[in-house]
Amino acid sequence: MITSCFSITGGKFDEAGSASRRLKEQLKQIGVDGQIMRRIMIAAYEAEMNVVIHAVKGNLWVRFDDRRFNMEVVDQGPGITDLNLAMKPGFSTASAEAKQLGFGAGMGLPNIKKASDQFEVDSQVGKGTRVRSTIYLETQSVEQPTGQGLFVQAELCVGCLDCLKACPARALRVWNQRPLILSALCIECTACIEVCRRGVFEIPDTEINQSEESVSEVHTLVIPRAFLTQFGSKIPPRVVLAALRNLGFKDIRFTEEWERELRRVVRRYAAEQKQHPVISPICPAVISLIESEFPSLIPQVAPFMTPIQAAVEAWILCSATFVAACPSQYTLLERADLSGRLRIVNPAQLSARILPLLKARTETAPTVQKQSVQPSRSGKNGQAVLEAWGVNNVVEILEKTEKGLAGDFQVLELGCCETGCYGTPVFEENPYLAQKRWSASGLERLRPVKAVPIKSPYKARTGMRLDADMSKAIEKLARIEELTAGLPGRDCGACGAPSCASLAEDIVLERYPGLECLVS
């Protein structure tokens, strides 16, 4: 994965095009050629010229590997008042000077869109504009794989098979003492991380590979507040906060700011709905679970982004560093970060950086005072809100909801980790202790933010298809059923699959050589 940032100065027509030229040199080095290069150059040059023509300054961020090229061009400028009009071929607000040079044909954004496989433009009037483009370097399916938020250190596995039983999506296999995640099935909850005593599963370490000109702009840190409570009783949250500021982060924001706003808007939204309960998209892993296992409940999910996605939206025009508290947050951040403009760090990386600062500043912590930390069970006007935590509880409640047995609640706020992000196994502190420590810290002030409606509807995941050809898939299904019927049905896991049915599927799809039932 290569990440680069090229700066662009507004109004300097003589220098214009240099970012695109430098980008072309990079792409030539990895062998991008022909039609794909043409499309990338059209998108990059048009986006660069938009900054030169309309903005004060901007950056062209790119990130690419051998499969896809992602570009984000973010500017500080007047913004676009009417995006629909701006997308209309022929419409232009370019200056007379630009028009004299041959620009201002009103073809910039339409040309970028035409050249891109995926295109997006966002703008804030008076602040600036962000244009995003993805161009596939090779043919690939539209389906986005999940499971990329989990890094597996297979060599640590002792083959205890605990993870097989813990995975609610039956996405894990342990073959030859090597765990493997079937990414089409993984919902990126934290069940495997939680249960594994050997630390086989973790959030990937992110490579910090940005060019120097971008680093100075990264000055906001977005963290779950649970992060501040992870350093024991003698280092209170405000000391951790001060240490983070000493690292150079001028501003520190909490994902709970967006979570609180989401709760508020979903409760209001639920009050207007006829069908209950409305499911609040608080936890991205729960959404993933619904998309995979409970697609009939998708219409009941409130049409808002998860808190971490809404937080990313707040930084559409500048850079920020995000701490991913779980694999599903990591994946969403990765997807949102098409261009490498945002930095994603895992909590362990950040902890390692502030530990030396904290050691020097240990002090006596205030005594935790008695106060209620129980989340409210009801919203305004006696609205019935059910909060439930832990993946097993979530699965059970979704099953009941599917059967129409949870209609007495207006809103479901479900999270895969105990007590929400305090309970992610990426954090070592007990979630109840961590939560209490936070509430005693007096740092409760959360700044007002906006909830963000989803741009495209939540949709069912196709999961693992048995075969691209439907008639062959039907044949395979019949063989799986036949094989399953001949297996003992004990779902013991000794074969490395979580159930007899999973083993039958693995055998038919030839996922691993020599698979067989070790019991029968």
Partner: protein
């Protein structure tokens, strides 16, 4: 068709030689909007335009376009010639207007038969 032959057809003057005088030209595209030129430029394409600024060289470089033809005897900005030299793009200028230039180039490339390039 060789670039040399097209240059002769429009009596153009070579202001900046490209990488090779024997470059093969398969298509001609004429226009005065950078976006349109960008979209149609490519290897083997001659761009005909009445613009004369440095961005023409940038478009040619990004899209691997071998030659720029300026019409109406337009005098190019010196920086255009410098940029064209750097990216080995030929720049030629002819005194004919856009219509006449395109007519002659079309006839030379495709004869009297109409063919959209």
């Amino acid at each position: 068709m060789k670039l040399e032959e097209l240059i002769q057809a429009i009596d153009a003057q070579v202001l900046q030689p490209g990488s090779e005088r024997g470059t093969e030209i398969a298509r001609v595209f004429a226009g005065d909007k950078i976006s349109a030129l960008l979209e149609r430029a490519g290897p083997g394409t001659m761009l005909v335009t009445s613009l004369a600024n440095t961005q023409l060289a940038c478009v040619a470089e990004l899209m691997d376009c071998p030659v720029l033809c300026l019409v109406d005897g337009t005098e190019p900005e010196p920086k255009l010639l410098e940029a064209a030299a750097r990216c080995e793009t030929a720049v030629v200028v002819c005194v004919l207007d856009m219509f006449e230039t395109c007519g002659r180039l079309h006839r030379r490339l495709y004869g009297d038969n109409f063919r959209r390039s």
